[in-house]
């Protein structure tokens, strides 16, 4: 087995705020994306006293501004991986480095969009997005302007006062994207953000995500179970195998964006990935 680097910091029990580690830098709200390095990352959960290895031997380097997509069978640890990178889960082995610094907790520099939108039902769209500013000092006028800009970016102008129950699934997901974007994170982690929307909206939102990615120059790491989506958006596609989750293969997709969904090379890669994933059963 590989050597596992233990991180004293990562073993600490969760605390409420822990921004000092790498978010204190000036780059925190800059437009320039950070690079991300995962070295020998491993994670195990305990279920009923028994150790359940979820991720093992994950090595990955993501260049600033890259779009990385992650595919893999259900339960292989995709969400767990994003939770580790986000800093939400601090108990793991190995190293996760953002711009060379260890991740020891959440940071506004890394945005996470959950699998479910997680808007607060008691706040309207505008106030939900404003939550992202809660822990920052910001001029109210700037705040309003930035929120407006981002609602426009995700196509929700006119829905500022709508409560989450008044939104469609896709709209709620877009509001969640806006909430994650307003702090200009250098790294945006997306956990199947389009999982709950219909096929047509999905295509539309894929284009939107790509537009936002181009416009913001942010590093995006997106989990999806849709291989077409992974290949349409990703500069690199990470294929995970399950039990425990390991990197089976990383595919570089050397095609310019925006891509043609019918591209021959994409079709070929899709076949390969499907064969990879099918090999598991």
């Amino acid at each position: 087995m590989h050597s596992v680097v233990k991180l004293a910091d990562a073993k600490r029990s969760p605390k409420w705020t822990d921004s000092q580690t790498e978010s204190g830098s000036d780059r925190r709200f800059s437009q320039h994306a950070s690079d991300l390095v995962l070295r020998q990352v491993a994670k195990a959960y305990r279920i009923d006293g028994k150790r359940l290895p979820v991720l093992e031997d994950i090595n990955l380097t993501v260049e600033p501004g890259q779009f990385v997509t992650i595919v893999g069978a259900s339960g292989c640890g995709k969400s767990t991986l994003l939770r580790l990178i986000s800093g939400l889960e601090r108990d793991f082995d190995g190293e996760i480095l953002v711009s060379g610094r260890n991740v020891t907790g959440p940071s506004l520099n890394r945005g996470l969009i959950f699998q479910d939108h997680r808007l607060f039902p008691w706040l309207n769209v505008e106030d939900n997005v404003a939550l992202a500013f809660e822990s920052r000092r910001i001029d109210p006028a700037d705040k309003r302007r930035i929120i407006q800009e981002h609602l426009k970016l995700v196509g929700l102008t006119g829905f500022e006062k709508a409560f989450p129950y008044q939104l469609s699934g896709g709209m709620a997901q877009r509001a969640a994207i806006a909430r994650a974007l307003v702090n200009e994170p250098e790294i945006l982690l997306l956990d199947e953000p389009l999982g709950a929307v219909d096929a047509l909206t999905r295509l539309y939102l894929q284009n939107e995500l790509q537009r936002i990615w181009t416009q913001k120059g942010v590093t995006m790491i997106m989990v999806t179970h849709d291989i077409d989506e992974a290949l349409f958006l990703g500069d690199r596609v990470v294929v995970l195998q399950s039990r425990p989750g390991r990197v089976r293969r990383i595919i570089d997709v050397d095609l310019p964006h925006p891509r043609d969904r019918e591209d021959r090379q994409i079709a070929r890669l899709k076949k390969e990935i499907l064969a990879d994933l099918a090999g598991e059963h």
Partner: protein
């Protein structure tokens, strides 16, 4: 033509309003039926409902109706405020800090098993026959429903929402203000609603079973002593009506505070 149309639409509007108030119509119909039934029979134990108004007029003229009523209202206000405040604070502590729940939970559960009216003799011994014992009883009545529902509300905040707060780097006060309190609010309001109606029940009980003092209980008591069924009914109607109004008031408050819930639109 136009005027006929507008009359018609006005008629519709009135009809619609009446339809919306059908709950009130049922009550009105029952009162009418009561009136009719009593007038048709000749049982002296029954009095027509209209006699209640007469009793109210008498009591008002004698000057104690308003005093008694206000005394009860003041009592419930003080007792409810104290009990609800204690229930809110303790319920929040229990729901937010697991250690508080572990330490105090079993004790509170045990105490809750004692019907509060069983405490009347004890309260009398401890707090004397004055106002204090009554207020304590009312406060206790309001305390438990508020405590339980507040506790439930805070404990039930989904982990999902806390994680959003963690990701967005909320401080503890921000977590409380932005996530825990609003998420627990529906349950808290339910607690307050029940607490208020329990407190109102306790007011009447306190006034009937504890030392005599001005209050609606007094009206009931006086009616019984003087064999005035209409006076007793007056007391009952005032108690019931006030309780219903309080409930209605809290429901309005709830509707305003919980606009974000689809069920309330």
């Amino acid at each position: 033509m136009a005027s006929r149309f507008s009359i018609l639409s006005k008629f519709h509007a009135v009809a619609r309003q009446l339809a919306q108030q059908r709950g009130l119509l049922v009550i009105l119909a029952l009162l009418l039926a009561w009136e009719a039934a009593v007038r048709l029979s000749d049982n002296p134990a029954l009095v027509p409902f209209s006699r209640v108004f007469a009793a109210a007029a008498d009591a008002y003229r004698e000057g104690d109706l308003v005093n008694n009523y206000l005394a009860s209202l003041a009592r419930v206000a003080v007792g409810f405020a104290a009990g609800a405040a204690a229930g809110l604070v303790l319920g929040a502590l229990l729901g937010v800090f697991r250690i508080v729940d572990l330490v105090l939970g079993p004790l509170l559960t045990a105490l809750r098993q004692i019907p509060i009216f069983g405490l009347v003799p004890l309260l009398g011994l401890w707090f004397g026959i004055g106002e204090q014992a009554k207020i304590v009883l009312i406060a206790l009545a309001a305390f438990y429903p508020v405590l339980l529902n507040t506790h439930e509300g805070f404990r039930g905040v989904p982990r999902n929402y806390r994680e959003v707060a963690t990701i967005l780097m909320f401080s503890r006060p921000q977590l409380l203000r932005r996530v825990l309190v609003p998420c627990a609010l529906p349950s808290i309001l339910t607690g307050l609603k029940h607490g208020l109606s329990f407190a109102w029940i306790a007011v009447v009980a306190a006034e009937l079973f504890m030392a005599a003092a001005p209050g609606l209980g007094n009206i009931l008591q006086a009616g019984r002593e003087q064999f005035r069924i209409d006076t007793v009914l007056l007391g009952i109607v005032l108690i019931g009506g006030t309780g219903a109004l309080m409930n209605y008031g809290v429901t309005l408050l709830e509707q305003r505070a919980l606009r974000w819930r689809p069920a309330f639109v």
